[in-house]
Structure formats: C-alpha cells, structure tokens
Amino acid sequence: MTEATAGYLSIRDVNKVYGGQHGEATTALKSITLEVKQGEFLAILGPSGCGKSTLLQIVAGLINSTAGEVVLNGKAVTAPPPEMVYLFQQYSKSLLPWRTVEQNVALVFESRGMKKREIEERCGEYLGMVGLAGFRKHYPWQLSGGMQQRVAIARALAAQPRVLLLDEPFSAVDALTRIELQSLVLDLWARQGLTILLITHDVDEAVFMADRIAVLSSRPSTVEMVVDTDLPRPRDAMGTRELPRFLQLRHELVEHLLHRQNAGRVDA
C-alpha cells in the first residue's frame, strides 16, 4: 500500500473555494499539502482570517473540501473519524451549559452503552487529568475561562482520540492561564501518545509547543514553509522560552510574518 509509506495523516492538495456559481468565488485554501507523522506535534501558523480553521475543519471531516483529500491511517476522511477529535476555540459555546462539568464529559460515553457507575468513574478519571476533580458538579458557566477549556480538553480526551485537532484553543484565556494550559496539553500529548495539529496565530505558542511549524500565507492560503523547531523535550514554560534556538526561531518567524504583512500593504 502506498498510504502506509505516505505517513500517518496526509493532507493532499486540499482546496477550498467559497461562493461561486453567480456570486464571486473566494479561494480560501489553495493546494495545501502536509504530512503528519504519528505522535507528532504540528503547529499551523498563520494570520487571522487566512483560513486556518477551515483547513482544520476539513481535516476533521466536519466540512468538505472543494478538491483534494485528507487521509488518516490509510483511509480517506469523509466524515469525522472516531479517532480524531476537534477542540474548539470557543469553549464556552462548545460546552453544554445545561449539563454539569461531569455530564459534559459523560456526553462522549453515553452512546456507548456503558453503565452509569462506569461513566461516572471514567469522567472522574479524565477530569482528574486536567485538575478539575473537585468541580464535577459545577456548571461550566460557574467556572473561569481557563477551567472551561480544561473541561473541553477532558471531554476531548475522554473520546480517546489518536489525533487531537486544536483550533486556537488558548486564544481566549489570559496570558498566565495560556501558559498553564500549554504545558498541560504538552504533558497530556506525551503521556497519551497523541498526534496533535495545532492552529494558532501566536508565534510564541507555535515554537514552544510544536515539533514542526507550517506557515500559511494569507488568502488564498498556501503552505509557505515548514520549519523544524529542534527544541529539546520536555519543554519548560520558562526555560524553553529562554533558549537561544527558541529566540532565534521566534525572531525569524515574526520577522517573516511582519515583512509579509507590510509587503501586502504596499501592494494594496
């Protein structure tokens, strides 16, 4: 099989065009090709509105691409595969406000014919992983933003995915909480042997977390370059950010993005 050699998760020549027919067609994504290895942490870095979320939703099987294909473990993705879970940027809209923290996590177990007792046990287990064991009976809206995103992370892990798709998951929380959550996700990634695709516009976050970074251009989005971060693991919230390699990489990426943005302005 050719797929076996092609990598674990392949994004092949994916295009997305909106509108068309009578209206003006907008090309959001143009010939995006990326290979993700099993167990890898890949960050997709791009400016706001460049179609990053669209790309991730296509990978997740939540929306269709106009052309191209996504292949996971040798199978083309046409609907959300059970081994892949999408974590939304807007955690407050993704959690169910009428369910307690525990019941939110239980959502993924309910359709599996598990006993109530077992569900409770499993929920406790996953909430413990994200440090929310004491908040099982709370409602999401009683928690802070960072805690809500932790609930969403626990729920995503409860679905026992092999691949986690993170759509700017830390962009709506404050800076300190963001650092905490980044370390939490890195820890869970290493412990669970996950493959992670992270979408972000935060250069610092991409460099700190990922093995590789794919830089997207603005609309129509193409992959401009892919860089290896080459930073040692486990990453440390403070130490890693002070390494020369970290600073150099961040410098190069920010310079690249700024330069492009200014070039765009001159064109316009």
Binding site: Q57, Y86, F88, Q90, W98, L107, E110, S111
Partner: protein
C-alpha cells in the same frame, strides 16, 4: 411637621428617616403591587357602598366576592370554570406539541421549510376569532371546535420561537455533536432540544394567555358551557354580581396558571442565564 414641607425642602431623608425607610422598603417589595390592587378594590367597594356610582351594574365588590364564593361552593361556577380550563389546557397542549414539532423540523430541514412555512405564515397572520364561524360548519359547536381554535392560536408563538431557536443555534454546538460522532437523533435530543428550550418556553409563555383568551372567546361565540358562555348569560340576565364573579375567577385562574408556568420554567431552565438574574 408636614410631609409636603419636608418634600419641598428636600430634606425628607434627614427629617423622617423612619418614614422613608418604611415606604422605601414597601416600594421595594412585591407587596407594593398588591397594595395598589387592594386600594382599587377598596375604591370599588366604597364607590358602590357610598353611592358614588349608582347602577344595577355596579354591585359592591363584597357582593361579587360573596357571589363567587357561593358559586364555587355550590359547584356551579366551579364546574363552568373547570370546563373552560379543561378545554384551554387541551388546546394549549396540542398547540405546544405541534408548534415544537414543526419548529424543530422546519428549523433543521431546509426543503420542508420551503414547502410548509409559507402556509404557516398565512395561518399565523389570520386573527383566530375570524375563522370560528366557518369552522363551526365543519366542527360543530362542541369541544372539538373550541379546542381546535385554541390550538390554532397557541401554535404560532410556540412555532415561531422554536423555529427561531433552532435557526439561531450556535454552529459550534452542532460541530461539537459532529466531532463526537453523535447520531442525528442524539444530536436532536441532547443538543438541539435543550439548547432551544429557552426559546420554546418563551413562546409557550405568550401562548398561555392566548389560550385562555381563545377559550373564552370560543365559548362566547358558540356553545352552552364555560365561563365565556356564563358571562354572556349573566349579562343578559342582568346579574352583575355573578358576571363579575366569573371575571374574577377567570383572572385568578390566569394568574395561577402563569405562576405555575414560571415555576416550571425556572426548574427546567435553572442553568440558563435569564434565570440567574434574580
């Protein structure tokens, strides 16, 4: 010291803190609303007793209370009220079920929406009492007709709100259901239904008073039972006290039904922000 003087000097707070506290506290409780009602009823009583208004159609309020008490005790008024409430609740239930059903289906299925909604849009602009006379020809003058017209009046607000609720559902919720692989039925049951519940109950709350209105109108136009019919009979018979007694019983029923509804709504939507204001 007169209150007027204090008020004009603007020093009411300084000169009579006790008085200010008393009235201030009263104004801030539910009691203040009840006091206004009590005062108006007292005015009614006094105006009839003192002969400020002299008319056979203006009995004392106390006489009306006595009539209501006797009517309820003898079972006559109770039975009449009961038959009205029975039809009202039957029509209300039917209208709510249909409104929710159509709202959910048309809100989530575009093809059915295009086919059915124009018809509903026409139906809901029709004043319900206007179609009673033609409906009598088909459904007669019995319970079927009255329950049917109540249902017709209840349907639009429940439908419109449910439909709007489904249409306004956040995309993220539906994508969440998708990424966790929920079936269509589970998505409806566990996501769409609870998320739309606040909109549904808002519609049902409006519909509740409409149901009572239509129940009474239906009885006034046709049939031989219920409060609407009783009101008309008492008017012809010039029995003002019984007429007012029926109106008061109706008002009390409406008030109680509304309170029960709010209680239930609160229990069902305890998680919703609109319920956390107080």
């Amino acid at each position: 010291m007169s209150i007027a003087a204090s008020l004009t000097s603007g020093e009411l707070t300084v000169k009579s803190p006790v008085r200010r506290k008393l009235f201030g506290d009263l104004a801030r409780t539910r009691l203040s609303g009840a006091i206004l009602i009590a005062l108006l009823l007292l005015l009614w009583e006094v105006s009839a007793a003192r002969g400020w208004i002299v008319s056979d159609n203006w009995p004392r309020f106390s006489a009306v209370l006595v009539a209501a008490y006797r009517g309820l005790l003898s079972g006559e008024l109770a039975e009449i009220l009961g038959s009205t409430l029975y039809r009202m609740l039957a029509g209300y239930a039917a209208g709510c079920i249909l409104g929710v059903l159509f709202g959910l289906v048309l809100g989530s299925n575009r093809v059915l929406d295009w086919i059915i909604r124009p018809l509903i849009e026409i139906q809901r602009t029709l004043p319900s009492p206007a179609i009673i006379p033609p409906l009598i020809l088909f459904l007669g003058v019995d319970d079927t007709l009255k329950i049917f017209i109540i249902m017709l009046a209840v349907f639009p607000p429940v439908f419109v709100n449910t439909y709007g609720g489904v249409r306004g559902l956040d995309e993220t919720l539906l994508l969440t259901a998708k990424t966790f692989g929920l079936s269509r039925f589970d998505t409806l049951r566990k996501i769409v239904l609870p998320a739309t519940l606040p909109a549904m109950t808002a519609g049902m709350r409006i519909a509740l008073s409409l149901a009572l209105i239509m129940a009474v109108i239906g009885e006034m136009i046709s049939g031989a039972s219920g409060v609407g019919n009783y009101l008309m009979s008492m008017q012809y018979a010039m029995r003002a006290d019984s007429m007012y007694a029926a109106v008061i019983c109706l008002a009390a029923s409406g008030y109680i039904l509304n309170r029960v509804f709010l209680r239930l709504e609160r229990a069902a939507l305890h998680w919703h922000h609109s319920m956390q204001a107080e």
